[in-house]
Amino acid sequence: MAVTYEEYQPPKQFDPVFFFQGFNKKLEATGTIDREQLSSSLAISNNDIERRIRVAKEEEPDKKRKFEIAYPALADRRGVNATPAGRSLSRKIWMDAGQDAAKWLIDQLEKEQHPEMIDGIAETLTELGSLALSAVLSKLEEESEAKSENIPLLDALSWMALKQPLQSSVKPRIESIIKRYLEFPSIDCKIAAIQLTRLLDDDAARSWIETAKQSADSDLQEEIDDLLDERFG
């Protein structure tokens, strides 16, 4: 009988960058880490792992604290926030945190009551653009029915279109959200849905706007006219 030899695998070297990335992702996803597995596969001491767990856990509240401190400025329009350039600078913390910031802001949206703060969150999600796209879509896809509380998310999505072209896989997801919100009886949901056509190409946008026109009352018709004027002149 022939002997089969396993392909030679060099011993795993400790790669601190890889270690930290994987480690933090696992910790973020599960809140736990398999210490024995890590210790044996990476040949590092339990003390070292303990230390790194401590550091990662310490960083998490620090990030949340930074978000909480930066949060009120989202609706502030004085001092440095009086100009678009100043507001962009103020949003740096959110841009740097990327997807974590988007998720945190979406969570805040569920609790926030103040209209200016809600607008501020939507504006920041719009600025985050592709960094927030996945989190916003996932949130909107969580529920099978339209929810008026989610209108600021549709609003934020609508204006992301101006920053970058959409991937083709995202288009059906957007159209599914438009359909769901157009079918919902609330006029605010219908308005948010037609605003979302801003993300689509001209033909698809026209098609959805035509669909919306069929059941449009005067308020929705006014929105449709405004959108048509903006897009097609």
């Binding site: 004085r78 678009p84 350039a85 103040h114 002149g233």
Partner: protein, 180 residues
């Protein structure tokens, strides 16, 4: 005429930026209540005063809407407001509050109700709702853009560095279509 003005000093109107739906009947036809409308007067966390704009005449609303939206809103949206006469504020501590970093048109018209209590805000919402002279309005986004184009606001020295990219793009599109 002068005498009339002397004895009947000009009544200013005050504008609060707030969603129209708070001040109008809902889709089911239920009239608004002070308890729900007060959301349009609520202070943000850490905010001490309620911002209002005092206008000499209702005709200033379009200009205020345009300058406010273009310079202080990054994401283009309709401008929604409630307008009410000065007398509604009787009994409130109202101060002129210049905001030097804002465009002059806004800064000069900016007033604040100083440290209003929740009860005062509820009373104010009730008085506005019951006022026959209140006006609730919405200026559509494209009307704001049209006003900006008509008054060449994107070239105005004071405003041009303050207009956000998204608004600027809408203004440029509108201008381009006019010249086509």
């Amino acid at each position: 005429m002068r005498l009339k003005q002397f004895f009947c000093p000009q009544q200013h109107v005050f504008l609060r930026i707030a969603k129209v739906k708070l001040w109008e009947s809902n889709e089911a036809g239920d009239p608004p209540t002070a308890e729900s409308a007060v959301a349009g007067l609520s202070l943000r966390s850490g905010e001490k005063c309620l911002s209002l704009y005092r206008l000499g005449h209702e005709s200033e609303v379009a200009q205020l809407a345009c300058i406010f939206s273009l310079t202080l809103r990054d994401k283009p949206d309709h401008f929604q407001y409630v307008l009410f006469p000065e007398k509604i504020l009787s009994g409130c501590r109202v101060n002129r509050s210049i905001v030097p970093e804002h465009p002059c048109f806004l800064s000069e018209r900016h007033f604040e109700i100083v440290e209003p209590s929740e009860e005062q805000l509820l009373q104010l919402a009730d008085r506005i709702l019951n006022s026959q002279e209140k006006k609730v309005g919405k200026i559509m986004k494209q009307d704001i853009v049209a006003f900006a184009v008509q008054h060449n606001m994107s070239e105005n020295e004071e405003l041009k560095g303050r207009i956000g990219d998204k608004w600027r793009k809408l203004i440029e599109n509108k201008k381009a279509r006019r010249t086509d």
